[in-house]
Symmetry: C2
Subunit: 215 residues, 2 copies
DNA sequence: ACCTTAGTTAAACGATCGTTTTAAATAAGG
DNA sequence: CCTTATTTAAAACGATCGTTTAACTAAGGT
C-alpha cells in the first residue's frame, strides 16, 4: 500500500510537469508514465481515465488555492470602507505562494495549467470551478465591484476576463516571451517579475473610466 | 483550371471556419474535406501538408491586415507631436474591418485564428509574422513607446503582450463568455461590443504609472 | 496452507490521425 | 482523335492515441 501511494503520486507529479509544459491534449499517457517510470495501464487503474487524471491534477491545486483566497477576501472585508482594485487583486498573491506547499514550483505550474485548461477544455474547467468554488469567485467579483462603484458590473465582468486572459497568456508563453525580452533588452526577466508587472496593468485596466456612450 | 481554383478555395473556406471554431490541432483534415465536400487527398495535393494549409490560411489574412496597419501607422506619424496610446491602438481598427473583403466574417475569424495560433504553435506563428512583417510590428511598438515616454520600454513590451493575451483570450472564449454574461446581466453582448470594451481596458493598462521600485 | 485482494506488467484492441499510393476521370493541345 | 498533363477518387499505410484485457506478483486474513 505504501508502494501503491507512491505510484499514484509519481503519476501526479509527472503529469503536472508535462501538462504544464505542453498542455493537456498534447501530453500522452505514454509520456506521463514514461516520465514517472510506471506502467502505462496504471493511470487507468488509479485514476480511471485521462480526463479523471486531469481533474485530479487541477483539483489538487484548486483545493489549496481557493480556500486560501477565501481567507484573504474575508480579511479584506473587515475594513470594507476603502477597498481598492489593487487590494482585491493582491488577495491572490498569498494563495499563489501557498501553492509552494503543494510543490516547490507550484505557483508557476498552477498558472500554466490554468492557461491550458481554459484554452483547451473551455467550459469544462469553468463548470468544475464554479460548482465547487462558485461562492468564492462570486465574492471576489463583488469586492471588485465594491472597489469600482463607477464602473458598470457588465463592464467589470469583461475586464476581469480580459485580466485573466492577460495573465494566462503571459504565463503560457512566458518562456518564449522572456527569451525575446532578454534578446531585445539585454537583461533577463524572472518569472515572478512578470507577475509583478501584471498587477499595475490589470489594476489600471479594470478601474479605467468608461468612455461616453454616444447614442 | 477554373474548377481547380474552386476546389482549393473550398478547402480554404472550410479550413478557416473549422480552424477558428476548434483550433488547428483539434481540426482534422477529414473534417475539413468533409465540410468542403472535396476529397481527403486534395488537401495534400493542393497545399502539400496540413501545416502548409495552416500557413496559407494565416497568410491570407496577414497579407491584408498588415499592410493596412502599416498605412494607418504612417498616417498617424504625420502628426507625431500628440500621439496617445489609444490613437496607436485605434490604428488596428480599420485593418480589422478591411478583413471583411477577405470574408464576410473575416475580423472574427482572424482574431480567433490568432488566438489558437499563439496558444498552439507558439513560436511558429511568431517567427512567420516577424520575418514577413517585423518592420510593421516594430513601428507599432515604437509608436506605443512614443505615446508613453514615462514608461520604460521593457515594461511596455510586457504590457503589449498582456494586451494581446487579453484580446486573444476574450476572442477565443468569447462565445462561452457572452453566454455567461447574458445569463448574469440579462442583456446580450455582441462580438463587436467586446472589442469596444477591450480598447479602454488595454489603453489604461499600457499607460498605467509604474510603481516605485524599492531597493 | 489457502484464498482473497490490491497492484503491476506486457500485450493487444479499436479508433483516429496525416500522409501516400494507385488508378480513374477530366481537360487541353496538337 | 489521340496524347499528355492535371485533377479527383478510393483505398491503404504507418504511427499514435486512450483504453482494456489477462496473466502475474505479493501481501494479509482466516
Amino acid at each position: 500500500m505504501a508502494k501503491a501511494l507512491r505510484t499514484k503520486d509519481k503519476i501526479i507529479i509527472a503529469a503536472e510537469k508535462l501538462f504544464s509544459e505542453h498542455g493537456f491534449e498534447q501530453t500522452s499517457l505514454r509520456q506521463i508514465t514514461s516520465e514517472a517510470e510506471v506502467n502505462l495501464a496504471s493511470v487507468n487503474y488509479h485514476f480511471g481515465s485521462k480526463k479523471a487524471l486531469i481533474q485530479a491534477v487541477m483539483a489538487r491545486y484548486q483545493s489549496v488555492f481557493m480556500p486560501a483566497l477565501a481567507e484573504q477576501l474575508h480579511q479584506l472585508q473587515k475594513h470594507p470602507e476603502q477597498i481598492t482594485t489593487k487590494d482585491v487583486l493582491a488577495c491572490t498573491m498569498q494563495p499563489m505562494i501557498a501553492l509552494r506547499h503543494v510543490r516547490l514550483d507550484g505557483p508557476v505550474i498552477y498558472l500554466r495549467l490554468l492557461g491550458y485548461a481554459y484554452s483547451e477544455i473551455q467550459g469544462h474547467l469553468r463548470k468544475f470551478t464554479m460548482s465547487n468554488y462558485g461562492e468564492i469567485v462570486h465574492e471576489f467579483f463583488q469586492l471588485i465591484q465594491q472597489a469600482n462603484p463607477s464602473v458598470c458590473p457588465k463592464t467589470l465582468f469583461w475586464r476581469l476576463h480580459f485580466s485573466l486572459g492577460a495573465m494566462l497568456f503571459a504565463q503560457t508563453s512566458s518562456q518564449a516571451l522572456r527569451e525575446i525580452a532578454a534578446a531585445d533588452f539585454g537583461e533577463e526577466t524572472q518569472a515572478e517579475e512578470t507577475l509583478l508587472k501584471l498587477l499595475p496593468f490589470v489594476a489600471a485596466g479594470i478601474s479605467a473610466a468608461e468612455p461616453d456612450v454616444e447614442s
